[in-house]
Symmetry: C2
Subunit: 433 residues, 2 copies
């Protein structure tokens, strides 16, 4: 038995580490095409910002660590160009062939700039790898750009805009559609826009960028461009190996993270997973999900039988100190799923006024037919992460609004008001059910 893992960031190394834990003798090889493994990709915007001082601070473990401490053969600069499943081997760019019995495809995603003319210019960057971040930092240092355009208002786009703005650049975000932070939710998008604009970052929606000119994008003058759009799962290897691709465009897998090809598992940004609210597969590439998937893929590749049930679509982004958090479905997304959503949106305080409470906005969305919560958002500077997680827990449990409203949440003035904003929102929502 031998395990080969393609990809050495979040999902791949979670898989390898978990497999090792369950089987001390299994030969495990991890093949990473880039120069480093095991780095905190979600920390890249903070490296750009300067809050994280050194790229090294984002590197969790080195290949040496994995070799010596975990007996895992981690190779960098190892680009896999083909998978021959009949022969149970992967082929490296170097021509080397490596045999496997079980394979984990953790090939990640990429930022596809091929649809944008001029994306190859020296002042155009993506922020997907540690190397991207280092090159961008050098550019900031050496070229002192003053006006940046960020293409894409997803998580990374907004985080990058925040980081660049804090470094003194004037920033404009151009978003092709109307969804901000990947959520079809106009009030949520408006709130993001308002916070960005308060801090001098302009957000323009409905701006499809087809070309980057040397000194402007879509008429916006700039000397730096970050492409934070066009994310696509890396599925080419999988497809070549006969692995089925799902409707989302990512690699399809069952809840054991096994693909349709017996012995080939998948995890991370290349893989789709079940959306537990819609009951249909979804592709939501996020670091925390990648780690969870990887853990399960690794366990099962090592002969275990663990499950990754899926996600409820939880995400959170900090923008100039305010958290924008969402989970489940927005009203528009619920309608698109054929549900009959009702929602309540409230503004309240994060703690008592006498203990420094600040504004907190909560929206809860329920399905009228079942009375169940199906989504929510929390926006605020204090306690938003904890509150969105309570909604996420409710979604995992298919909780009804009438039960949510009575939840025994922790109360003490340093932490929350006597009526938590979640409960106030639930009270409002229950009136509509």
């Amino acid at each position: 038995m031998a395990l080969v893992v393609v990809g050495g960031v979040a999902a791949g190394l979670s898989a390898a580490a978990r497999a090792r834990r369950l089987d001390a003798r299994l030969p495990i090889v991890v093949l990473e095409k880039g120069p480093v493994v095991s780095y905190a990709a979600c920390g890249l915007p903070y490296l750009l910002e300067g809050r994280v001082r050194e790229a090294a601070d984002l590197i969790v473990h080195t290949p040496e660590y994995f070799r010596k401490e975990r007996n895992i053969d981690v190779r960098t600069g190892a680009l896999v160009t083909a998978v021959s499943h009949p022969r149970r081997e992967v082929v490296l760019e170097s021509g080397e062939r490596i045999k496997y019995d079980r394979l984990v495809l953790a090939t990640g995603a990429r930022c596809d700039t091929s649809g944008i003319a001029g994306a190859g210019q020296a002042h155009v960057f993506t922020l997907h790898t540690l190397d991207d971040a280092e090159r961008l930092r050098a550019f900031l240092r050496n070229r002192q750009p003053r006006r940046a355009v960020v293409i894409g208002a997803g998580y990374i786009g907004v985080e990058v805009a925040d980081a660049l703005s804090r470094n003194g650049l004037r920033v404009t975000i151009l978003e092709r559609g109307t969804d901000v932070l990947l959520r079809d939710d106009a009030p949520f998008s408006d709130a993001v826009r308002q916070t960005l604009e308060t801090h001098g970052v302009e957000l323009r929606c409905g701006m499809k960028v087809e070309a980057i000119e040397p000194d402007r994008v879509a008429g916006v003058p700039c000397d730096l461009v970050i492409v934070a759009a066009g994310f696509q799962p890396n599925v080419e290897l999988a497809r070549d190996a006969g692995v089925a691709i799902g409707r989302t465009g990512a690699i399809a897998a069952d809840d054991h993270m096994e693909t349709n090809v017996h012995g080939i598992f998948t995890a991370g940004d290349c893989a789709e997973t079940m959306h537990l609210v819609t009951g249909r597969p979804t592709w939501i590439p996020l670091g925390t999900t990648a780690n969870k998937m990887g853990r399960v893929a690794g366990a099962n590749a090592a002969g275990g039988r663990e499950r990754f049930p899926g996600v409820v679509g939880t995400c959170i982004v900090g923008i100039f100190g305010t958290a924008f958090a969402a989970t489940g479905l927005s009203v528009a997304q619920a309608r698109a799923e054929g549900l009959s959503p009702v929602s309540a949106r409230i503004e309240s305080l994060s703690r008592p006024r006498y203990y420094g409470g600040v504004k907190t906005n909560v929206e809860l969305v329920a399905d009228r037919a079942t009375g169940r919560l199906i989504g929510g958002t929390v926006i605020g500077e204090d306690g938003a992460a904890g509150r969105i997680n309570v909604i996420a827990a409710a979604l995992h449990n298919r909780m009804r609004v009438e039960d949510f409203v009575a939840m025994d949440l922790a109360y003490s003035p340093p932490f929350s008001p006597v009526w938590d904003p979640l409960l106030i929102a639930a009270q409002q929502l229950s009136k509509q059910l």
Copy 2:
């Protein structure tokens, strides 16, 4: 139809306000024995500390507000001495009789110092009402005490110790038993002790105080004593009216907050409620529960049909900036309930190290027979409230550890590490199941 509410703090006024909302014409009288109504009793320690400047900052609404804006007749200094249910009337100390059709008993709790000799001395205080806090503040100002003894290591005792210590007093807490913050949980108690001692507050357990001497308590020299023990529900009126008292010693009520006497409801610190983990009635007097109970009692007293299902025992206290949060059962409490608890206790970071994460301790407790979570604690300076609420949500939903471990919690470096401490604890716990 007329509604009389006895008690005008959290539960009583929630009941009255909710009844008014459901029935615009119902005559409603609230009878409060004290001089003020509608104040944030949980804010009293912060008034003592000085963080809250004025007692007025803790008063939410005045009797005039209720009269003018809500058409609720709120009377202060109105001590009810008897209830004659056959005549459907309450009798005030003044001799006045007030008729009711529905009665809500929100008589609260008290700090019973009768078992302590010397409790009547001028340097001995309780901290139960706004008046208590004002008198204690005046004492601090005028008498400049230097060493305080706090009797009782419950929430109020510990909060008061924190507040006095921040005001420069040397403080010793004397606790009769071994439970700290009302939880039979030795590691949790030890953590509280450690934080207190780091900040110069001594905690001595197993110290039953029977007498307060003029200059010392149980051998500890002091010039100020706060009694924060001996809390008892005020059930005398209820008992006189033929209302059943539960095994906990508090007023028994069904999940509509109605007592055994048709037409008499109860809510707040005088009432017991269902513990949803043990399935048995419990008495956990807390402000947030009082408000929820009051809302339901008021709705039903006004002819509604709402439910208060019960609590899971969630609480949180801030001690010198560290949150100590708990919900459900500790291992010892679970054993006492006849369960077979297993637990995992981990220390992890609240956020990534590169984003300023600080130590966070999580314990999760499960029942081996069912695989369900039955309790947990979270200790830390960052995000503890949100995390304990996720555990509380799991308890409300009788969630199994194997499902908890895969929860889709919000991840982004400003808010949490890629593996949330909750999930790390759940992983550890799942290995034991």
